[in-house]
Symmetry: C2
Subunit: 633 residues, 2 copies
């Protein structure tokens, strides 16, 4: 076996240094204002014009000479001749003389000769003495088109006028280099008439996935050949875009050296950074290793972090290159720890602020190896409003670990033990991560799924009834969902319960005429079971024990006779799906499942499903929301 | 004057209720996985397949029957026959019998008959007895292709195997409705082979700008007609996109009723929400008011908030309609307070988390009217690390107010007075707003601009020397930049100083042969001054006083003789720009400006520019960064 060994592991600091030494910057581009939001300015922008560009009326009213109003008040208004009007968007064609006023709209240009304005509310429009005589009446309402105006207040020069350049003066510094453009900055740029801005180009990041066993989502999967969906490509692409880069997915490369080299070099030619990602197979890693070593430059291979050891950093042609580990959790942890900061830096974006949460470790953790550890964690608020931090780990091959996690706790290589209750700081995956309002664990059940759909932001781990109870006892989740006869050995508060009918899910119309457990024992039908963790399995085992009693034989004798008894599947629908696929004649399941999938059903009994809360958590909003939802079940 | 009066103002709560009664939801769309980041799932997604889809080797090594290793250890390894190999992406063609092993790669399918695997590190590949005899030697290294393997450890069934469905089981709940898709969720969806997801469509928000005086950025502006750039359209569009909507800009509508109605109805036909925005002119508001009232339904007009009173809420055809105030600051404040939350709600996005900052008000504030107040504020950290919150207000017509602000403090209508030092909570404009590391005020100066370009995240308000000193005395900014003879009447720490040469900026080559101040007084040249706030103006006035002394006349006599002495512009380059434009023969300015703009220069003196810090703030990172940068000036 020709395996690449990573014997001299670099420290995380050395890995950061190696990545920093690569130039990921993509240069400058000019973007239209409509696309400038969130982009980063590369140069200072100074105002090229005054804003406003003219002396501007701030209100609707009358433009006038301030000194003509001196001494005016309600009792003794100043009387001015109205000699014209000017609206927004019009050029005034009048120069004011002493004793004159011009009707003016908000935003209009102050006419020459005027140095202040009065709002219309402090004026009355009236007919002048000659008109008054002619019509024989004295109009007083402000709708009047009289040729004079009574001004009932005194104003100072400049009152209610925004002078040219008062907002921004030509030549003034408007926005500095490095500004990440907000909608408010777009307001300022608009006011300056700027419709295109020079910004940092987004670093182009090519993603090359390798490995013969990988299939792109959406395509057909041959599980019997060990094919799996390519998790890393789209995930890393989304991470690249989160970090301010532009992700480019390249066609899947397989394990063949020539093809892989061709695609890697194409990506290096077109991108600022190439990430290879995907395969966990040693041969694919070997090929990439060879290509980078022979055709480029390898700066570093192997980093002392867990997860994430097999990481390559180097150059290929004019591009930077980072090889990520194959396992999705490892790939994502290495990406966000080492690569994302470098992309953000190149994009000119600051590190996300205030994305840490202080809490206490929910259970003790031991570390075997002296590697820097990136520990994915979930967060849950306890009854006192404090944050509990619990490690999320389904093994490095798992893909759901990170979807069930909120952030990361880093643990240094010198630490081999963390006590339960130890204060830790979790870095959230992003500043807008919201830890769940409810953390529940337990039985996989369709009613539970529907309940969760109606809650605000729940997290549910369908670990089964038995592990659910164990976790509730350990004090981490708020709630456990427990099905079947198992009793809780811990104090709990029952939030709700219902009964579910269970039995054998069989082919539509039950063509095998399976009538009960005895048919599985005696007629050699192919059966699919659930795992021992599930409440359904507990009820099945109880029913088998009863049948053994009836027949005067042992339980073991019966289970040995059931073909497939030992094959336990984790999810409540899985056995039914095996029946549909023709891989089994009967599966342990629920009537609800059989009905929904249009399958036959042989009832074996009813079992309770109970929703049990940690007594300390019953006042939590999420728990109360769940309790309210349960009232309708 | 035919003005629409808003006499019965609605409360903010009524305005929210009215907006909530409008349906902004845009329905469902299906997007490819590569575009799913940040979108919001509309339905629960259950796993349609097991992940992994087969029993999977977790390491490189040997698949075998666990019971064949029972009792094996370093001293007494189990010896098994190697009967084949299986790599990732291959279908195993072997069924293991007792005493047999198969070489297997990480990620490969476990062959039938095998129930565990041992990592290669715990094995030695050797030749079997027959081979050994034939070759006469005993290869022991792991590169050997011998036909037997020594297993130096015992394993239990299931060891180092990830069983089918162990990660996600078919039928299991994967992601709930309302999930905003993260890169980690994309990992889970990829693993499930899902390449398209049903998400909430982004609400389409049409933006119709009105007002004859508005010009789109990028086009030419006729300031003499009172034209200004349309600030609201692009700003509101960026706000819409920040809130998860899709902004659609419609052609500018002017003030003409038929055209405005045509565009409003086109937008209503194509969008979920129409926002009109732009004009501050009463006539444009009147026309829109009429269109909505006659052709649609007006739910509410006028809201008791400041800024923001003139707001319309209603329906037009099948679309929701909100009319925003014309002034940019008012428009943006009303948008973010009332409209953005409704767009987020329709987009399925949660309210941004943890976007508030607690601080103390930097100076007292009085409120005249009994309206709910949305007060734009800036934030600055004081010497003790506490946050000071200061109101940012250049008047509602200003566009830069918001670019210089970090968030909003809301003040209820019953409050007419806030004491200095009063605890307030500011809501940041967005969770990623970073208050500046340095808050400086004072003289507008090209050296200062360059200095700021090199700092991390500075805020500079070029208010002039005199107001800069006043603000420093009031204790809000960290630093004031002071030019000219003015002495500080407050204790400060001088961080740095330099000299700048000032004088008259004149046309290139000085064709008017202006030699000094006397030419302005005696030769009737058109001059452009700076505002009294500026240090340049102080030096000019001192020089004029000297000239008056020399001539035995009064300062006033001289300044009256200078054409344009009273016209003061705010920015250091503005007078020079007037000279370039032909509007003046000489402007007060700096040699640096004249050189940069290729203009003539008549030196009148040198003046010091001093950077003075609040003594309590000298330990702040931003102040120290500035001090370090000053060392290089």
């Amino acid at each position: 076996m020709n395996r690449k060994e990573f014997r001299d592991l670099a420290t995380p600091a050395e890995a950061r240094e190696a990545i920093d030494s690569l130039a990921l910057e993509a240069g400058i581009e000019r973007v239209p204002l409509a696309e400038a939001r969130g982009r980063v300015l590369v140069a200072r922008l100074d105002a090229e014009l005054d804003v406003p560009g003219f002396d501007r009326a701030s209100l609707d009213g009358y433009a006038l000479r301030a000194r003509d109003t001196f001494g005016a008040d309600e009792a003794d208004p100043a009387r001015l001749a109205v000699v014209g009007e000017v609206h927004a968007g019009e050029e005034p064609d009048i120069t004011l003389e002493e004793g004159q006023a011009v009707e003016i709209s908000t935003g209009a240009v102050m006419p020459d000769g005027a140095d202040a304005m009065v709002p219309v509310e402090r004026t009355d429009r009236v007919d002048g003495p000659s008109t008054e005589r002619a019509s024989g009446e004295t109009p007083t309402d402000m709708e009047s088109d009289g040729d004079e105006v009574l001004v009932r207040t005194a104003v100072a020069p400049g009152d209610n006028v925004m002078f040219a350049g008062a907002d921004v003066a030509a030549g003034e510094r408007a926005l500095g280099p490095g500004t990440q453009i907000t909608p408010r900055d777009i307001g300022l740029l608009s006011a300056l008439g700027i419709d295109e801005v020079p910004v940092r180009a987004k670093p182009r990041v090519g993603i090359v996935s390798t490995g013969d066993e990988l299939v792109r989502p959406g395509a057909d999967l041959a599980s019997e050949r060990g094919e799996i969906y390519d998790v890393n490509s789209y995930t890393i692409a989304a991470g690249v875009e989160d970090a301010g880069g532009e992700a480019v997915l390249y066609p899947h490369a397989g394990d063949e050296q020539d093809e892989m080299e061709r695609i890697l070099r194409e990506a290096a030619d077109e991108c600022d950074l190439v990430l290879s990602s995907g395969s966990t197979s040693a041969s694919a890693v070997d090929v990439i290793y060879r290509v980078i070593e022979e055709q480029g430059e390898l700066l570093l291979h192997g980093v002392s972090v867990k997860p994430g050891k097999p990481m390559l950093i180097g150059r290929l042609d004019d591009s930077a290159y980072v090889g990520l580990p194959g396992y999705p959790v490892s790939a994502m942890m290495v990406f966000r720890t080492f690569v994302a900061p470098a992309i953000r830096e190149a994009a000119g974006l600051p590190e996300p602020a205030s994305a840490t949460v202080a809490g206490r470790l929910a259970r003790q953790e031991r570390y075997e190896e002296g590697r820097h550890r990136l520990m994915p964690v979930g967060l849950v608020t306890d009854g006192d409003g404090e944050t509990l931090v619990y490690p999320v780990d389904k093994g490095s091959g798992a893909t759901t670990s990170l979807a069930d996690a909120d952030g990361v706790v880093e643990v240094g290589p010198e630490t081999d033990y963390l006590e339960q209750g130890e204060p830790v700081t979790a870095t959230l995956f992003s500043p807008d991560v919201r830890p769940p309002t409810l953390f529940a664990v337990g039985e996989d059940d369709p009613t539970v799924s529907r309940l969760l759909d109606g809650l605000e932001n729940p997290r549910y781990l369908s670990v089964g009834t038995r592990p659910g109870l164990r976790r509730l006892r350990e004090g981490v989740p708020d709630v456990a969902v427990v099905a079947g006869p198992l009793e809780a050995d811990v104090e709990t508060v029952e939030l709700g319960r219902w009964e579910r009918e269970w039995g054998l899910v069989v082919r539509t119309g039950n063509p095998d005429e399976i009538e009960g457990l005895a048919d599985l024992v005696d007629r050699d039908r192919r059966f699919v079971n659930r795992t021992t963790d599930s409440g359904l399995r507990s009820s099945l085992d109880a029913a088998i024990a009863d049948l053994a009693d009836d027949r005067g034989t042992t339980r073991r004798e019966l289970t040995d006779a059931i073909d497939g008894y030992d094959l336990g599947l984790r999810a409540h629908e899985s056995p039914a799906r095996k029946v549909i696929a023709g891989d089994a004649d009967a599966g342990l399941g629920l009537r609800e499942t059989a009905d929904r999938l249009d399958l036959g059903f042989v009832p074996l009994g009813e079992q309770p499903v109970r929703v049990l809360a940690n007594p300390d958590r019953t006042a939590k909003d999420g728990v109360r929301e769940l309790e309210a939802a349960l009232a309708d079940v």
